[in-house]
């Protein structure tokens, strides 16, 4: 228990380690390409424009209104789902290092989260430019995206502390998580809009991912997130923190033998 808390606490003292690892990850991903980080963002923008041209009509919304909804949803879903997927592999991908030096799990989780925050910011710039071109004007509520993104980042960090050790011990959990995310993408209002009444309301109300996305999407669309959004995600975060301490307490000492 004490060891687990010390592991998590190490994320502060050793920030230079994970920051450096994340910077190298980003450089590796984009090396030798001219506009580097923006290729993936541009491809996301293309997808969003294409889908908005078609589905705006299907859902009977103006192109601009649907474009903002869809691109905000894609942007945030990309951030959340990448953190969850890669949360599974934080220990597996660091196998070489973990055989040589003891590294806290929290340092490897923070490396993954930091990497994805940078990618998210790249995407955000391109998406912002896209919606600006089509006449989007933000409101003062846009400021709510800041606490929203901070909360989602913390969520990704603590979830990685739980998933990392589990996926190291049981290698097929990574695939299970990937498939579930695929399912969650369609069950969550990202392409379809939650206020149309065509999908049972339970899909929205009892969907953690909906509340996570709303924390950032609602401010982009000009509204403040609801109290329920905050409560669900905040409560989920507390549960995750408790789970991460339990997981690390149980798994920390076995990591080397699971490599």
């Amino acid at each position: 228990m004490v060891g687990a808390l010390m592991d998590i606490g190490a994320v502060f003292g050793r920030w230079r380690t994970w920051f450096l690892m994340a910077s190298q990850d980003i450089r590796m991903r984009y090396r030798r390409s001219l506009i580097g980080p923006f290729w993936l963002s541009i491809s996301m923008a293309m997808t969003v424009v294409g889908m908005a041209l078609v589905f705006g009509n299907v859902f009977e919304r103006t192109f601009q209104e649907y474009l903002v909804f869809l691109s905000a949803g894609f942007l945030i879903w990309g951030f959340i789902s990448l953190m969850i997927n890669e949360g599974c592999t934080i220990l597996v991908e660091a196998e070489n290092h973990l055989r040589a030096v003891p590294l806290p799990v929290s340092v490897l989780a923070a490396r993954m989260v930091q990497r994805n925050v940078v990618i998210f910011l790249h995407n955000a710039v391109v998406i912002a430019a896209l919606v600006a071109i089509f006449g989007f004007t933000p409101t003062i509520n846009l400021l709510f995206v800041i606490p929203g993104v901070v909360l989602l980042t913390a969520f990704g960090f603590f979830l990685a502390l739980v998933l990392g050790p589990i996926c190291l011990r049981f290698r097929d959990v990574t695939q299970v998580v990937g498939s579930l995310l695929q399912l969650a993408f369609f069950l969550t209002p990202i392409i379809w809009m939650p206020d149309q009444g065509r999908v049972p309301e339970a899909f929205v109300t009892f969907n953690l991912f909906f509340h996570m996305i709303e924390l950032v999407r609602a401010p982009i669309q000009g509204a403040a997130p609801t109290t329920l959004n905050w409560l669900v995600v905040g409560g989920g975060l507390w549960v995750l923190m408790a789970l991460s301490v339990v997981t690390l307490a149980a798994a920390r000492k076995h990591i080397y033998t699971w490599l």
Binding site: R14, R16, T17, L20, M21, Q24, R27, M28, R31, E95, N96, H97, L98, R99, A100, V101, P102, L103, R169, F170, R171, D172, V173, V176, K253, Y256, T257
Partner: protein
């Protein structure tokens, strides 16, 4: 003052079959009833049994034993990579583990860009990283190559860089495994000098090597391991003599 205390430390680890790594198979086994195929998922390997030893400042311990006798496992426990299954282990001081090559050299980055991360892995402070950035380029003698990607390096050049990084900071406890290669011949002298300097600046050294000559010249204690047990620990000449004699006669020690 650095100190190492091991009290009846044992370490065993499971070796998982392919199915043991699967959550589905593990759950299925529970459902079917573990009586049927207990142990199918993993086999326990006892790598160290009931090892007790004390080291204090000034001690240089050499480890001898056949392959698989537990020398490397002991180093991994001391490094904090693995944790004792039973028994107590206590270490005072900063441990510098140089026992594996996976120290994080990224071949796509230049030699210079590769200085910081391995040192951060070893727990280097900001000041130590700054000092290494000044010192490593000179010491390796790589010249302009220090600003080329490591993938363009020859084997010898890579060995130089790895050696320079590993010896760029000092700790209280130094753990050394065989691998610390030094590259080509003209680098050898400088490397030996540096290694000597590093050892004298370190309070406790634990060294696993097959070179009994090296061990005799450095160590003041030698421990002989066989099948995870500490057979005997004491004066280097005496223990190495016993170990070599046992190897020649094919004698099996009984702990």
């Amino acid at each position: 003052m650095a100190a190492i205390d091991l009290d009846a430390v044992s370490f065993s680890y499971p070796v998982y079959e392919v199915t043991g790594r699967s959550l589905k198979m593990t759950v299925m086994r529970q459902l079917v009833g573990s009586k049927i195929d207990l142990g199918v998922g993993s086999v326990e390997v006892a790598a160290l049994s009931e090892v007790s030893l004390q080291l204090r400042s000034g001690d240089r311990l050499g480890l001898v034993g056949r392959n698989g006798s537990g020398k490397s496992t002991l180093l991994r426990l001391l490094a904090g990579l693995a944790h004792p299954t039973r028994g107590r282990m206590h270490i005072d001081g900063r441990v510098l583990p140089l026992i594996d090559k996976g120290l994080g050299i990224n071949v796509e980055l230049t030699g210079f860009e590769n200085i910081e991360l391995p040192l951060r892995f070893l727990g280097a402070s900001d000041a130590e990283v700054r000092a290494a950035k000044r010192d490593v380029p000179d010491f390796t003698g790589l010249g302009p190559f220090i600003h080329m990607p490591v993938r363009t390096y020859s084997e010898g050049m890579r060995a130089r860089l790895a050696f320079a990084l590993c010896t760029a900071i000092t700790g209280d406890v130094l753990l050394l495994d065989e691998w610390l290669g030094t590259g080509d011949a003209d680098f050898y002298e400088r490397a030996q000098q540096r290694l000597k300097g590093m050892m004298s600046a370190t309070q406790i050294v634990v060294l696993a090597t097959h070179s009994t000559d090296l061990m005799r010249s450095i160590c003041n204690k030698v421990a002989w391991f066989d099948r995870g047990r500490l057979i005997v620990m004491g004066d280097p000449d005496a223990v190495i003599g016993m170990y070599l004699a046992a190897q020649q006669s094919g004698f099996e020690p009984v702990a």
